[in-house]
Amino acid sequence: MAAAIQVADAATGVDDSGGAAVLMLGEVAFRDFYDRTARRLWAYLAAASGDPALADDLTQEAFIRLLRAGIRPESDEHLRRYLFRIATNLLQDHRRGSRRLAPLAELREGASPGPDAAARVDLRRLLARLKPRERQILWLAHVEGHSHQEIAAIAGMRPASLRVLLFRARRRLAGLVRAAGLAPEETP
């Protein structure tokens, strides 16, 4: 076990020199982790919430809470799952607070207009037709590549419930993509 932690520490660059219970990640290790993860976490939050500006805020908040959590990560993947779990909780807290998320179709453009703008609008428009929880689990499964157990842990669900919900969400989004003529075999 000790050897595993040492390997994990070497992989993540965890700084054990500090005796404090918080900010366990050293500066270099945190920068490395942040640079690799921040954009992915932001995309998850933007897709799940439908609000790029909110995703900005929640991404920062999730990293701050991760730093202050004082956890000793077992591995890089463990740290990433923990971060996504924090972000998911923040999103749910925000949803409870605001009672309503902005519809994705009405959101302002996150990035400057370009050749991909239409595709981004398609993504937002179709995701807006799903429930927030469906957006979350689809993203975690298909973009982040998490297993059912991992998604269940991140989203705070039972794996059995998740499997059914994921199946339905996938079928629904697939139907929407086909109906919009965006399926590869249907695009002219």
């Binding site: 900010l23 933007a46 990035a111 059914v164």
Partner: protein, 197 residues
């Protein structure tokens, strides 16, 4: 009714993004669940690749914010017991004062009133004398002050004003109340000064 998951979904997920093995591709073509999974996977992955954050701060900025927040939280935690004692001190001081005024009744009130009157008259006399009014007026003011002090003395003689010796309990209670009321803010300010350093 729960739909049975396709046993090939995991294989499909592992192979996503690259060419599918022939057997898996043949299965996926005829399996609606796998077809949905492939479609959704491609659609979301393509969308994710096009998404760009508005403006995430640098890692150092986020780390600095975490440190500042942690420091603020530590200070707040450290001040919590002092704040508690401050409230307790104020409550105890108020209780002692209340008990003194209500319990002693007339003597305590008379004591405070006599002190106030004597002080007010003395101040009036001093101001009159200093403002350059005729000597007669100044003398009248001094006389008033003397009368006030004499009245206080009479009250004292009558037992209305407890002397330090005779009324130790009341004087001690007043002192305790004063200390209880004054100490918490003093301790607090000392601690804040220490924290700032």
């Amino acid at each position: 009714m729960r739909p049975p998951p396709c046993p090939h979904l995991d294989d499909l997920a592992r192979a996503a993004g690259g060419p599918l093995p022939e057997a898996l591709a043949r299965h996926a073509a005829g399996c609606p669940e796998c077809a949905d999974a492939r479609l959704v996977h491609g659609f979301l992955r393509a969308g994710a690749a096009r998404m760009a954050p508005l403006g995430l701060p640098d890692a150092a900025v986020v780390r600095r914010r975490a440190e500042l927040r942690e420091r603020a939280a530590r200070t707040e935690r450290a001040l919590r017991p002092i704040a508690l004692f401050d409230r307790l001190g104020l409550a105890a001081g108020g209780a002692v004062l209340g008990a003194l005024v209500l319990g002693k009744g007339a003597p305590a009130v008379a004591w405070l009133r006599a002190l106030g009157a004597a002080g007010g008259n003395a101040a009036h006399s001093a101001l009159s004398a200093l403002s350059g009014v005729p000597a007669a007026t100044a003398a009248r003011g001094a006389l008033q002050a003397a009368r006030a002090l004499r009245a206080a003395g009479a009250l004292h003689a009558a037992g209305a004003i407890p002397a330090l010796g005779a009324g130790v309990p009341a004087a001690a209670a007043m002192a305790v109340a004063t200390i209880l009321l004054a100490a918490p803010p003093l301790v607090w300010s000392l601690y804040l000064g220490w924290v700032d350093e």
